[in-house]
Subunit: 308 residues, 2 copies
């Protein structure tokens, strides 16, 4: 069985044909060129899809992971910050029309956790929380083997769990959401805000990567920011563990590339926030699909649909 996974991004569209064993048989990346409008983007995606589908002699399904608010049931992109003007566009139907293959469309953070279940560290698990630390913070949850969607399909917004009611204002209108601290944007801001207190810090470029690299080397500003970030993640994950009683929490997204320096801090802080009866009930890991997490996530939605 083969599925084409399409990872729709604001800059690039990455796609690959994946088999059930999680092997990538053929892949292709094209520019999104959002400014050309929905029709042209759909044309370009479909053309590329048809090319690699024919290379492998056909696929059973296409799975698409997209940022933004997705109407999975009807295959619509409701709206997405990265795709201005895409309001309730019938992405699934348009791709189906041009490829002749059934399409399943899902929010990229939901697809992420499903990808972990099919091809990553969540194999064999029924209760998994996925959290992606990128420009923003996204979330996806599998509970009792089922993807949590909510009645309008907009649930699992784990980036908007409040970790500090008096914290930073968030783009969502609220204050102190996890996303204001644990995203790449949040980390970058924290480093700028604290830099005067740490004049000897080696950090000169205030990216999340630079901050995490510095933390790994024991740089005091890096360590300070990591402390704030892991504390926020610890509070949020503590609450989420009490809510979902998961077997596994998988952290992905660009910030997760920080590796063990982040993971060990988050594990420690989370445990501080979890009640005793939950202590040995969960694991926290980093995704190892990182670069292809979007493709695997999208493909897994296809496999999941075939299975059900």
């Amino acid at each position: 069985m083969k599925v084409l996974g399409i990872d729709l991004g604001g800059t690039n569209v990455a796609m690959a044909v994946v088999n059930e064993n999680g092997e990538i048989l053929v892949r292709k990346t094209i520019e999104t060129k959002v400014q050309e409008g929905f029709e042209k983007v759909v044309e370009r995606i479909s053309k590329a899809a048809n090319e690699i589908i024919s290379e492998v002699g056909g696929v059973s399904k296409i799975g698409i992971g997209s940022p933004g608010s997705i109407d999975h049931k009807n295959g619509l992109v409701r709206f997405s910050p990265n795709f201005p003007g895409w309001i309730n566009v019938p992405l699934s139907k348009e791709i189906e029309k041009r490829t002749g293959v059934g399409v399943t469309l899902e929010n990229d953070a939901n697809a992420f956790v499903m990808g972990e279940k099919w091809f990553g560290k969540g194999k064999g698990y029924t209760d998994i929380i996925g959290i992606t630390l990128g420009t923003g913070v996204g979330g996806g949850v599998i509970t009792g083997g089922m993807l949590l969607r909510g009645h309008k399909g907009i649930g699992a917004e784990l980036g908007h769990v409040v970790v500090d009611p008096n914290g930073y204002p968030c783009g969502c209108g609220n204050h102190g959401c996890l996303e204001t601290i644990a995203s790449a944007t949040g980390i970058s801001r924290l480093a700028r805000e604290w830099k005067e207190r740490y004049p000897n810090s080696i950090i000169s470029e205030f990216t999340a990567k630079a901050v995490m690299d510095a933390a790994r080397q024991g740089d005091p500003l890096g360590v300070k920011v990591l402390e704030i970030v892991s504390q926020a993640l610890g509070i949020a994950l503590g609450s989420l563990i009490h809510i979902f009683n998961p077997q596994l929490i998988v952290i992905g997204g660009g910030v997760s590339r920080a590796g063990d320096v982040l993971l060990s801090a988050v594990k420690k802080r989370t445990r501080e926030n979890v009640m005793r009866s939950f202590w040995d009930t969960y694991e926290i890991v980093l995704s190892d699909l990182v670069d292809d997490a979007g493709i695997f996530g999208a493909a897994s939605m296809g496999f999941e649909e075939i299975k059900s």
Copy 2:
């Protein structure tokens, strides 16, 4: 179809035979007498159960709602603060043996939300959050029509969502859990802590009921405590709405008897904490099963099991 619902409490055991329309056909309450030990309590419950079962000519199932940590799958009470010494006791099996009727056992807060789905304000809904404000704060969640249990069956501990990381220490070992503020115990403590600032307050007895009654009359101490409580609930419910995208949030438990003064404050505070795209996606209501919520919850677990 008829089910016997048993609401197991530390002081009393209330039971009733309920039909699918939510009519109570016959009921009985006995003292728990925990101090007599598991065997004797089971004997007494079974005897009372057999009496009312025979009054209605038999039931299809027995549902039991119990506080504490419940192993639903195996019908065990793992442990429960109200039942010292009950460690992994096979409650379902023992009641089955003595009544000849199949038993389903569930945590009382999980049973509460299922009761709302079958007999209360959640009828016809698939995505419901139930929250009980009693001595502690309990939670139950139905997502996609399915009761959220988590992989060890100990999920939906909504009372242990953190609303203030620097808040009161909680019995669970953490700080600032919702339960430290929005429970009857929390409300009582808040009133005592703030009373010196409000020497003209009419509150003399520091129970949650007295505080809420005073708030309803505009008493400044009552209003202050209500403000803190509804703010905490607003933060927690805001996060839970982002997580579950529910249609309905039902608030039950003794504190919910405060009625509209509580409900309207909680609605206002919750909305302040919810992002715009979720604004018109949920309702918040008070349970109207209050006195019999335990029985209806327990009975609903029986009906749910028969259905599936």
